[in-house]
């Protein structure tokens, strides 16, 4: 089974006066595990359903390989969907559910048996062949849905938030299984989710959407480390933002003057003009905090003073929420407890005054305002 590439060209959709999709253009590569990530209402599900054929676009085209499938009804597209609620046929057994597409094509009984068993084997449900859907657990239903969708040998598999109905542990497990199936089968996966952890962990590439627009497409690493705007920076992982006026420009860095943070150095990879107002972003895990003045400050480091307002301890890491004097913005610093005991380490408590330090190469310019 080989996957197909999917090309979205100029897709627009308006629902009751609301522009739900605004000029979407991108391409999904054949065989990719591609995720569409965004908050509820961003249009990701609408886009997915358009690829499936359940919704028609107002403008634009969708290509599956070389073919324009925009006007084809869902049953004529070589695309299959995994629904959020699994949509298993309640009156049919697991076997008959999976056999459904083949029954439509009037395949021979032997061939059907062979294929169904093969796919049920792949999702490890062969022992439950004759059960009814209401006798299965959520995870099992999920796997039946996958087998049923793949038996048709589609070139693209669409997954509409398939894990949202499962509990956390099961979600992790199913995610890995989906990844394995993808590797084994080679079909293009288009995975829609609002959970960035899911998207980051298994995708080859991610498209981040908000309010009907695609804001950024890239690998998980690119999206995380180099978000292209504030929304992406804030939606993926957690970010701190620093705003201020550029007061000094050097070859590799510039200095921004922020009312709250003071004078901060930041990395530049393209020109900024003196006097312009900019917005920087900084990941909390890149910040080191200490109770005492940090001793090894280099020329590339920024240090500020702040007060600890909140600490959330989750075993492997602590999240510190800091308040800087003169503002009510919460500045986030995350610390992983890699070593049980660290030299020079003093336990930090609520209300402590601390120093936050980071290397300017870990922050970057995200917007020129």
């Amino acid at each position: 089974m080989r996957g197909s590439n999917v090309k979205i060209e100029g897709i627009e959709k308006n629902f009751d006066g609301v522009q739900v999709l605004k000029n979407i253009n991108f391409e999904i590569k054949a065989g990719e595990f591609f995720s569409i990530l965004g908050p509820s209402g961003c249009g990701k599900t609408t886009l997915l359903r358009m690829i499936a054929g359940f919704i028609e676009a107002d403008n634009g085209c969708i290509y599956l390989g070389e073919d324009d499938i925009s006007k084809l009804p869902p049953n004529k597209r070589n695309v299959n969907t995994i629904f959020q609620t699994y949509a298993l046929f309640p009156h049919l057994s697991v076997f008959d559910n999976v056999a459904f597409p083949l029954n439509l094509k009037k395949e021979s009984k032997n061939k059907i048996k062979e294929e169904v068993e093969k796919y049920l084997e792949m999702v490890q449900l062969k022992d439950h062949m004759y059960k009814l859907p209401n006798q299965l657990s959520g995870g099992q239903k999920q796997r039946v849905a996958i087998a049923r969708a793949l038996i048709n040998q589609p070139s693209v598999l669409l997954l509409d938030e398939p894990l949202s109905a499962l509990d956390a542990k099961l979600r992790q497990h199913m995610l890995i299984e989906l990844d394995n199936i993808h590797d084994k089968v080679g079909v293009t996966f288009v995975f829609v989710t609002h959970d960035q952890q899911e998207a980051l962990s298994v995708s080859d590439r991610i498209a981040v959407m908000n309010q009907g627009e695609v804001l950024q497409i890239g690998t998980p690493n690119e999206i995380y480390e180099k978000p292209s705007n504030s929304f992406v920076a804030d939606f993926i992982g957690e970010s701190n933002f620093i705003e201020g006026k550029v007061i000094d420009v050097h070859e590799n860095y510039a200095i921004v003057s922020s009312r709250i943070f003071g004078d901060i150095k930041f990395d530049i990879d393209k020109k900024v003009s003196l006097g312009s107002t900019v917005k920087l972003t900084l990941r909390p895990e890149k910040i080191k905090i200490s109770k005492t003045q940090p001793k090894n400050i280099g020329p590339k480091d920024n240090t500020i003073k702040a007060k600890v307002e909140d600490i959330i301890y989750s075993g492997f890491q602590s999240k510190f929420y800091l308040i800087i004097e003169g503002s009510d913005i919460r500045f986030k610093a995350f610390k992983q407890h890699a070593d049980f005991f660290e030299e020079d380490e003093q336990t930090i408590h609520w209300e402590d005054e601390v120093y936050a330090t980071w290397n300017y190469e870990d922050s970057f310019l995200i917007e020129v305002l």
Binding site: P74, V79, T85, L88, F89, F100, L104, R148, N152
Partner: protein, 257 residues
């Protein structure tokens, strides 16, 4: 609790009010004499019922035939209509919703009168066919209502899944929608059968000579004072109704499990 005692006593009175007439009916069916004065236990009226009432049995046969056939047709038409209303938009949707609601609220007699006038004006002779047409007509809104309420709880994504996996509309209807709706369809069918068997007024207006259904026959029996044979018949019908009601409940319980 005072309020409970009040509603309890009203409830008990209502129960007595409901069942006492039926009890008298049953008791007097076993009465030897014709009046309500007890003259001794006898099954004479039951014998009369079973051996001497060919016209009654014919009416009963006609009732069953019409009930089942009109239920089939109205259930089919009603189910398709419910699917149209619940999942689709079309130009005459509002019109359809109104005309399928109206028969439920207008008094029966209006439908009887209007169908009589229609049939007579178009020189369509009154008989079993007209009764069949009338019954199908008044059954459709009830079936529609029942199926619509089932569709509210219907998971539409299985219909989409069916299309997604390659089925066209007809295949989806046959293999997915109807099987999933089956409990509702059966409910609607049974309701239609019941309404048809029980109908008097509409049937009265659209029936012709020789085409009698059971209620029509019962009516003439009552009007012409035929006597306690009616009581015996009543008891049989009541027993049949209770048996049907109890077995329907059992079937429902079985289907849920």
């Amino acid at each position: 609790m005072k309020k409970n005692k009040f509603s309890l006593s009203i409830f008990l009175l209502t129960m007595i009010f409901f069942y006492l007439p039926l009890v008298f009916l049953i008791v007097s069916s076993f009465n030897q004499g014709r009046s309500q004065v007890w003259t001794g236990f006898s099954t004479i009226w039951y014998q009369e019922l079973f051996y001497n009432s060919t016209r009654l049995w014919q009416a009963f046969r006609y009732s069953i035939i019409i009930a089942i056939s009109s239920a089939f047709l109205s259930t089919s038409i009603g189910t398709l209509g419910a699917i149209a209303i619940h999942w689709y938009n079309f130009k005459h949707k509002k019109y359809l919703q109104i005309i399928s609601y109206l028969p439920l609220v207008l008094p029966d007699i209006i439908m009887g009168v209007s169908l009589l006038i229609l049939f007579t004006s178009t020189k369509f002779s009154l008989g079993l066919t007209t009764i069949f047409l009338a019954h199908t007509t008044f059954n459709i809104p009830f079936v529609l209502l029942i199926i619509l309420s089932r569709l509210h709880e219907f998971d539409y994504s299985i219909v989409e899944a069916s299309y997604d996996l390659g089925a066209d509309e007809f295949q989806t209807l046959k293999k997915v929608i109807i099987p999933s709706l089956m409990p509702g369809i059966i409910s609607g069918f049974l309701m239609a059968v019941t309404l048809s068997l029980d109908d008097f007024v509409i049937t009265f207006f659209v029936s012709g000579p020789g085409s009698s259904t059971l209620p029509i026959h019962i009516y003439s029996m009552i009007k012409f004072g035929v006597g306690p044979v009616i009581n015996a018949l009543s008891v049989i019908l009541i027993a049949g109704t209770v048996a049907l009601a109890v077995s329907t409940k059992k079937i429902q319980k079985y289907m849920i499990n």
